[in-house]
Point group: C2
Chain length 397, copies 2
């Protein structure tokens, strides 16, 4: 197979080199010799690797002593690594299918252990993403058993924290994702009406998400479109059913366009029929609070201080909300587009810097309905750039 | 909120009771007092819980001493548990948002530890799904630290092995999923032609998957539609791009309809333009091998013996394939619809029993193209019931 013709990394090599250099700086600060990266988003960030193969164990190894990273994965995915990463052939190491859901007491971490030995870091200080998706308890105990001389340290968010500030190219992909989010939101709002089953609205949203814009298509989002409706606006993570929308249903749509794995989530609320004053007033409060919080964004302020602006705004209406209102996000794979670093909530003293990106999604829930509106934004040199251009109001269907 | 009106379990309570009883039998055999179930598919199997909330830590606890299971999850998902499970209020335990991606050194497993103490199993033998998706290394080390008196055992596939044989109701959902797979495959084959971007074919497939049939809609599948094309048929897990299909491209479509989280995967290969004899001959061999292997299916034979029939069939053409050709599947959440138990490959001596279900996906890959055709089937009392009704041949686009 002609591997060169397949190559399709979406950033210049220099961007990957910068990411690797910054990762190595963090390793030196943490006094680590190597890092095993298992989070698919972090693997992509460092190498470009992009495939739906995270249902088997795989990882990227960063060694301070080596100029290139090493990709470790399943044999049938090695060509995918050749096609999507900036790595040379010797940096792509693949295990055979006997290791996959094996009846032979073989585990992919046995193969990874041998790679760590080959890289001569098996008696060193090795960082592990202990709480990353897909890095299982078994992965850890196998590494411990195989490499008794290694000293393992928890380095869960080491790479994630590097991701919080975006490059120009990353921001361009997020802006493209925002165009897709606008299309999908329009399609969803158009589709929802009395008597239409929820799955038809989901299909319309998917069409917008994947067909994208006239200029480019959409990637699969890390979270499926969520459309809690009626009583279910109080169950934010249930997915669509065969139920038909009914007159009197509030419906929250939360979705995200995706472009080269970069997201720009967007949420709006619509109402089937004539909205009662109570819901209209709630929507007005959410919009006021969201806009006040967005206005508070600028470099130098803390995450918790932005949340406080929201909290103070809704407190004027004797309302409060317990959950965080925003979180850092961008690049992602299922099950999440969040980066798991900064959140806007009491106690989070992360100081905002230019080019950090967040999804701000405040909402208010009551016994029988909820209202959410959200925006994805970038911190600019003196404020916030909201990525999507979509009216902020309660819609009606 | 009226929780009773929201309830929507998709099986009778008696089916959940049977599943729980069989799980308890296995616990007794394994001399365990309790089991912590973190795999979302196993959580659904035992309780009905169905939400896109597996991006935060959650679990179900089975205790031998207790009639009901306990669901443990995030506060904002407790209503989802009330709506989708057969559990009583006292069996739904939720942690607050301070535990989510917490800057306060709180971890959801701290809350789970307290639940295990409350259930009085914290000094007992506790099974953990050590290699399950979403049960991270950190989850394990936190439980170890919090519960020094507990004796933890690896019980990774304990529930998965119970899932391999399906009930009548489960089979009905899989048959409905097969109807959806047929619709989506037709839509994909229709959409692919020279000059069409890959994402448009993906959008057409999604429309089939979610819009479903005239009678019911589709759920989101656990794996996105895969469409490796051209050179990329050798990179089975790369997803669609903006590239346009070209004359001379082989395209493999692998997809699955999904109904109430039950799948029925289906793969076919098409060719853009006039297929060369070589590809046509390869497709004929794959069909012959697939059909020979399906004919070999019946209760009492082993998984490896079915694979051998495929292997012997293609060997007549001096061909061989290293990977497994089939795996047990059904209920699933991203990133996989496979059950991780039996596979049809050398060394797997699992004996087939009536109502086991598998996805058989043999394929042949060469330097510049690959061909795959697959079927999902149930083991009957004397053979195989293929769930989808779709022609087995090379298509042209």
């Amino acid at each position: 197979m002609s591997v060169v013709s397949m190559q399709r990394t979406i950033f210049d090599d220099s961007e990957y080199e910068r990411r690797l250099e910054r990762t190595k700086e963090r390793l030196r600060e943490a006094e680590l010799d190597a890092l095993v990266v298992a989070d698919p988003a972090n693997m992509n960030y460092l190498t470009g690797y992009d495939g739906w193969s995270f249902y088997v164990h795989q990882a990227v190894v960063v060694s301070l002593e080596r100029d290139e990273l090493v990709w470790v994965g399943r044999g049938m995915d090695a060509n995918g690594a050749r096609a999507t990463t900036w790595l040379d052939e010797e940096s792509i190491r693949a295990y055979d299918d006997d290791y996959v859901h094996s009846p032979y007491d073989r585990h992919p971490m046995d193969y990874l252990s041998a790679v760590l030995e080959d890289l001569d870091v098996d008696d060193g200080d090795i960082g592990l993403e202990m709480d990353a998706y897909y890095f299982t308890a078994k992965s850890y105990t196998r590494l411990q058993k195989n490499l008794p001389e290694a000293d393992f340290e928890d380095a869960t968010l080491l790479v994630n924290w590097l991701r919080i500030k975006k490059s120009e190219q990353e921001l361009d992909y997020m802006r493209e994702a925002a165009r897709i989010s606008e299309e999908a939101m329009l399609a969803g709002l158009d589709a929802i009406e009395e008597g239409v089953p929820e799955y038809e609205a989901a299909a319309a949203i998917y069409d917008g998400l994947i067909r994208g814009t006239d200029d480019f298509g959409g990637d699969y989002p890390s979270i499926v479109p969520l459309m809690p409706s009626g009583d279910h606006t109080g169950t934010p993570h249930l997915t669509w059913t065969d139920r038909e929308f009914e007159d009197g249903d509030p419906v929250i749509i939360e979705l995200s366009g995706c472009r080269h794995r970069y997201h720009s989530p967007l949420a709006r609320t619509t109402f089937v029929g004539d909205p009662p004053d109570e819901i209209q007033r709630t929507a007005d409060v959410v919009v006021e609070g969201l806009e006040a919080a967005l206005d508070a964004v600028e470099p130098g302020v803390t995450c918790e201080s932005v949340e406080k602006v929201w909290r103070d705004t809704i407190a004027q209406y004797d309302l409060e909300k317990e959950d965080r209102i925003a979180y850092a996000m961008g690049l992602g794979y299922p099950p999440d587009w969040g980066e798991h670093t900064a959140s806007m909530r009491p106690g989070d003293k992360t100081v905002l810097e230019k080019d950090m990106t967040f999804h701000m999604i405040p909402g208010l829930w009551f016994d029988d309905f909820g209202v959410e509106l959200s925006e994805t934004f970038r911190v600019t040199s003196n404020g916030a750039e909201v990525l999507a251009d979509f009216p902020r109001r309660l819609f009606t269907s």
